[in-house]
Amino acid sequence: MGVVKKVTLYTSLSIMGFFSVFPLLWMVATSFNSSGAIFKVPPTIIPDMLFKRGMWSNYVSIFKDYNFGRFTLNSTIVAFSAAVGQLITCSMAAFAFAKMQFKGKEILFGLLLATMMIPIEVTIIPEFLIMFKLHWLNTYLPLIVPSFLVGSFGTFLLREFFENVPDDLIDAAVIDGANSFAIYRRIFLPLAKTPLTALFLIAFMNNWNALLRPVLYIDKESLFTLTIGLTNFQSQYESQWNLLLAGSVVSILPLIVLYIFLQKYFVEGIAGTGIKG
């Protein structure tokens, strides 16, 4: 590769890269400003509290005064349970679709396929009424159960993977006396570690970032997830941008950390399962 081309490429990549992380950096920078500094004109590029005493005071404040610790815990509980559930539901269904013959297989699969693209906004009103009738409002359940049980993309991803597992493995296990659940549990799940990890991370991410269901189902502050905690803070304390953006940093940090260490799974999972939740 020629020097000119290399320089052009690095320059374009750096410009694009800058634009893609600038808002995230600006979020972090603002979160280290004092409430006086955020309204300075011209804006301060270097945050006034950075590396000074009380540098973390915005973060201390959102955890101590505004309950963001609780919101983080709630988000973790919801996203983790929903993601585990999705692994169970999708892997079991995928196993049946990939390796079993049964009546209605084509129809069921077709229905999964047909409903896959339908946005959640289409079904959310009846879903709300179901949750209302079940007396599940203001519990974790309406945030967890629908994602636990619905996962067409995950089912397709795993079905394709399971179809490529040779039947000889199953035959050998059957001779050893294994039943179908043991085959699923001891042969298929361990083989699918990579797609399962990817699927877990994507489901975790989607539920961590979800807003519509928390907005509809939760109005008790102690059950707020981070997303609704943030929008609620925004409407109550409109001008406290430094605190709001400290909260935003808290809300994206866990995913960014996971992403840095498990980038491969995120990219594979998102490319494989498509579409946000």
Partner: protein
């Protein structure tokens, strides 16, 4: 096969494996889809029993200026989002499809916004776009001497467009990854042959890359269009549909009518309009797929 024999003797076993998925499929997809359809013919405000209205909700929709405004907003958003993520996504994919030192770092950087929450993104962009204290207007005024920079989210004519650009910024890494996978599937022999024949870089891009990428492009197109209708989170976070109803899209209007105005029946008719649009676009795409995705190798 022994396994088949065992499966044949216990017919209920597959359904046990499918039980959670079946409950989910019926409970949270099929039944709500049918239910929403029925509700769209009623007046229903949660607290009073539903009342059959026939086609009245749909008549009201089509005769209300507000609805056409919402529909227009929905398509404006799509018309910015889809070309935006596809063109920039393809450019980024071509850029990061080079063997360079540190290319993985750049890929990682460009993809990072995709994993962050649209709520946090909406917050920081709201701050960047703040008319008086935002960094963008500061840069416009002092670096580019724009005398009257726009109020962005406070401006009826600009709010929706600004949100669509933010969405492009956040999601484009996703299209980049999809295009990158497509690019890497194109066998290098084609490029080598073209080079020998004396084709320059542009010719190679137009005559080899684009045609051979068309299956990927088609897939990315469908996903991006459908994705563009799922804009509740970013609209809720950045403007709540305002100023006025200038950034209200179908997804947001469904929420607003059902859960703020308590018009569940009317909101269901909006939901069905959304369902019909998504369904139609998927079908059209599948039809055209046969026509223009014709290159196989």
């Amino acid at each position: 096969m022994i396994y088949d024999h065992i499966m044949r003797t216990r017919r209920y076993v597959p359904y046990l494996f499918l039980l959670p998925a079946i409950i989910g499929l019926f409970g949270f997809r099929l039944i709500p889809i049918v239910w929403a359809f029925l509700m769209s013919f009623t007046r229903w405000s949660v607290y009073a029993p539903p009342q059959w209205l026939g086609l009245a909700n749909y008549k009201e929709l089509f005769s209300s200026e507000l609805f056409w405004g919402i529909l227009k907003n929905t398509f404006v958003y799509t018309a910015i989002y889809v070309p935006g993520v596809m063109i920039i996504g393809l450019i980024l994919a071509v850029l990061v499809n080079n063997r360079l030192r540190g290319i993985a770092f750049f890929r990682g950087l460009l993809f990072a916004p995709v994993v962050t929450s649209a709520v946090a993104i909406g917050m920081v962009w709201g701050w960047i776009l703040s008319p008086r204290f935002g960094i963008l207007n500061h840069v416009l005024e002092h670096w580019f001497s724009v005398s009257n920079p726009p109020a962005w989210l406070g401006d009826r004519n600009i709010a929706l467009i600004a949100i669509a650009f933010v969405a492009v910024w956040q999601r484009v890494g996703y299209q980049m990854v999809l295009f990158l996978a497509g690019l890497q599937d194109i066998p290098t022999v084609f490029y080598e042959a073209a080079k020998i024949d004396g084709a320059n870089r542009w010719q190679r891009f137009w005559k080899i890359t684009l045609p051979l990428l068309s299956p990927t492009t088609f897939f990315v197109l469908i996903i991006s269009i459908i994705d563009s209708f799922r804009n509740f989170t970013i609209i809720y976070t950045m403007t709540r549909g305002g100023p006025g109803s200038s950034s209200t899209t179908l997804a947001y209007a469904i929420y607003q009518n059902a859960f703020i105005f308590s018009r569940m029946g009317y909101a269901s008719s909006l939901a069905y309009i959304l369902l019909i649009i998504v369904g139609t676009i998927t079908l059209i795409n599948f039809y055209f797929k046969k026509k223009w995705v014709k290159y196989k190798y």
